[in-house]
């Protein structure tokens, strides 16, 4: 694997706490001396947050699509009626 990819993998292992205590110490020491590595670590952390937000947003769209199919197609009419009935009873 390319050196930069190996480094990205190392940053990931550190952020996701998959390194042994010994390796973690070495990595933290390197971080103190290497500003560029610290910078990459900072942005990689932000990247995982964005991926999570992205995944969640996509998932919500998929759930909404399932909702629309269930409540707006004839095939599922008995189900949607059953639900609407619950709120009509009041």
């Amino acid at each position: 694997m390319r050196t930069s990819l190996a480094e990205t993998e190392q940053i990931e292992a550190h952020l996701l706490q998959q390194t042994s205590p010994g390796d973690a110490l070495v990595f933290e020491a390197t971080l103190l001396l290497d500003d560029e590595l610290a910078d990459k670590l900072h942005w990689q952390k932000a990247t995982y947050s964005m991926i999570k937000l992205y995944g969640r947003k996509q998932l919500r769209q998929e759930i909404e699509a399932a909702h629309q199919t269930l409540f707006n197609t004839d095939k599922h009419k008995s189900f949607s009626e059953k639900i609407r009935q619950i709120f009509r009873k009041r």
Partner: protein, 180 residues
């Protein structure tokens, strides 16, 4: 709960999963929300939030296999309803001051960045979503995205991670309040 780990892997599978969960659990959740004085739209919001939580927990393997989906979704929905009810009471007591707009303001740069990533980096974002959000094992992700094997999937994963990391860094200089 193995349901998510089997069906949750592909878009088609997830559609089947959510339809099945809707059919088995939504009637009970709707009856509960209705009983508590809520509307259809509120029941829908609560249930969809519960589905997201359930999905994330199940993908991470953090849900006990012997709990039924229906019981789990009802449990989360009740919790979310009670939480939201308390929040509404709190907001009502603040003389109509609504804090939700301020939160949206804070996330403006984040949503601009998200929009950019959705447009310019969709392929990488989809791949990264499968690895980190859906938590697909490498072998399956390799098959799903048509890589020759685990190794090339791994290489592509890290290449995408670097590409998105660089994009976020560059964009953050433009959207100066992002992650400051």
């Amino acid at each position: 709960m193995q349901f998510v780990q089997v069906l949750g892997r592909t878009t088609d599978g997830r559609e089947k999963l959510f339809m099945a969960l809707y059919k088995s659990a939504f009637p009970t959740v709707a009856r509960y929300v209705c009983k508590m004085g809520g509307t259809f739209d509120e029941a829908k919001d609560i249930f969809q939030d519960a589905l997201v939580i359930y999905y994330e927990k199940a993908a991470a393997g953090a849900v006990k296999l012997n709990t039924s989906e229906k019981a789990y979704l009802l449990g989360i929905s009740k919790h979310l309803w009670l939480h939201r009810f308390k929040q509404n009471t709190l907001q009502a007591s603040l003389d109509g001051i609504d804090l939700s707009d301020e939160t949206q303001e804070d996330n403006y740069s984040e949503s601009r960045l998200m929009h950019f990533l959705e447009m310019a980096g969709a392929k990488c974002m989809q791949l990264l979503r499968s690895f980190y959000y859906d938590q697909l094992p490498l072998g399956e992700a390799a098959k799903l995205f048509g890589f020759s094997g685990v190794r090339s999937a791994t290489v592509q994963k890290y290449k995408c991670l670097e590409k998105v990391r660089e994009t976020i860094k560059q964009k953050s200089l433009t959207y100066e309040d992002f992650l400051s």
